[in-house]
Symmetry: C2
Subunit: 220 residues, 2 copies
DNA sequence: GCCAGATATCACCGGTCGGTGACATGCGCA
DNA sequence: TGCGCATGTCACCGACCGGTGATATCTGGC
């Protein structure tokens, strides 16, 4: 029993795509996402992917040049997702640098939470700096850099504050929280499951940003 | 060529431990740490471990009950490391709740940075909630809980502040920073390699803690 | 001296992996 | 019509995996 079903085509997508390369490529890419979400990089091999896509593994080599090429293709796709999501950060009333950073953190939180593939990739980056995660890491760096360059000039951080470091710390916290919520359901005793939990995190982040960037004696 | 060397005993620890169960168990445990540091959980299998320990894999089954038992043994060991390190948090002049939290964060940063095995385990937790990481997660939770219970009562957080959430966020940031430094050498454009980089992070964390817990108009 | 048991090693199993070469099939074009 | 090529399928390889039963070797107690 190669699979649980009687036919090896059981896992194949309903759409008929015989003799259609672009359709097959798409099926492989979607299988790559699905397997990555369900099994992580541990189960991300040519055999499993071909099984999930309902095609022969040979096609992965032919169309993508093996696992590395497939990872690269998937990485750029996901990076585009991130880019698109960040480009829509137009939190309504941004009147200060702190407000801008807070809006960015919330947007990042939203994107990450709704994108399990991104979570998997980032988690893998923390475990192994392999050739599979490298392409995405680079693409992601470009996306974030472009976003920062775009908003530059609108507002400036207060003087005497290491804004890049503060922002990095808060972004790191967001990332860790989302990853931990996906695998353990919370972090350090703070649950991260219900909507109210995330709202609590949102408030906490905003408070940290505001207090860090506020002029003393000018609270809120 | 089962190994690069001529003799299969090349990787064996220098100490002669034939017919000495406790010595063999220790060799296996140390090999488990070493392989975990060098190859991560991906290469953490009975074959590789036995090879690294210079013994037969059968002994891993006999003495530890397989990989799961070995992971449990290693997990409790590492949890003890964490417990011991946290119990020594006596940052000299702690005069406020903020100072206490800052000292805790610095201690955690120090412990994590100097403990690559802990980093691997935490990174694995974020990728897969497998039976290998579960025992350590539980032990770590106990260690942190014990620490919190110990310091309870010395100082109290200001009113109207969600201290558990703030602390969780900052702990998450520390964790993410250390993990990211190990695999990528930095985070979000902030380098984390030289001593000055870590000092910068330390200052940033302290500033965040102080500003978050400070009474307004009573800075520093 | 000798035996019982602890300790360690070996050989082998079925299964999955990544990777490759050979082969079948159908489409488009001359 | 039939040829050429893109597309898809199959069979097979060597390597490694986790796991287990049988066997060798040494030690301590009688």
């Amino acid at each position: 029993m190669a699979n649980t079903a009687t036919s090896p085509k059981a896992a194949r997508d309903t759409e008929d795509r015989t003799r259609d390369r672009s359709r097959t490529e798409d099926a492989i890419l979607r299988a790559a996402r699905r397997v990555l979400i369900e099994s992580g990089f541990a189960g991300w091999g040519v055999n499993a992917l071909a099984r999930a896509a309902g095609c022969d593994k040979q096609l992965i080599y032919r169309y993508f040049g093996g696992l590395d090429g497939l990872a690269e293709a998937l990485g750029t796709e996901v990076a585009h997702d991130l880019e698109a999501a960040l480009s829509e950060v137009r939190a309504p009333p941004v009147t200060s640098y702190a407000g801008l950073v807070a809006a960015m953190l919330e947007a990042l939180l939203q994107v990450l939470r709704s994108h399990p593939v991104m979570q998997r990739i980032i988690a893998a980056e923390l475990s192994e700096a392999s050739s599979l995660t490298a392409p995405f890491a680079e693409a992601r760096g470009r996306a974030l850099g472009a976003w920062v360059a775009k908003i530059k000039g609108d507002f400036a951080p207060p003087h005497g504050v290491d804004a890049p470091a503060i922002n990095a710390v808060l972004i790191a916290a967001v990332q860790q929280m989302v990853l931990s919520s996906a695998s353990v359901g919370g972090f350090a005793g703070m649950p991260l499951a219900e909507a109210e939990d995330w709202e609590r995190l949102r408030r906490t982040l905003r408070r940290l940003v505001v207090s860090a960037y506020a002029d003393p004696c000018a609270p809120d």
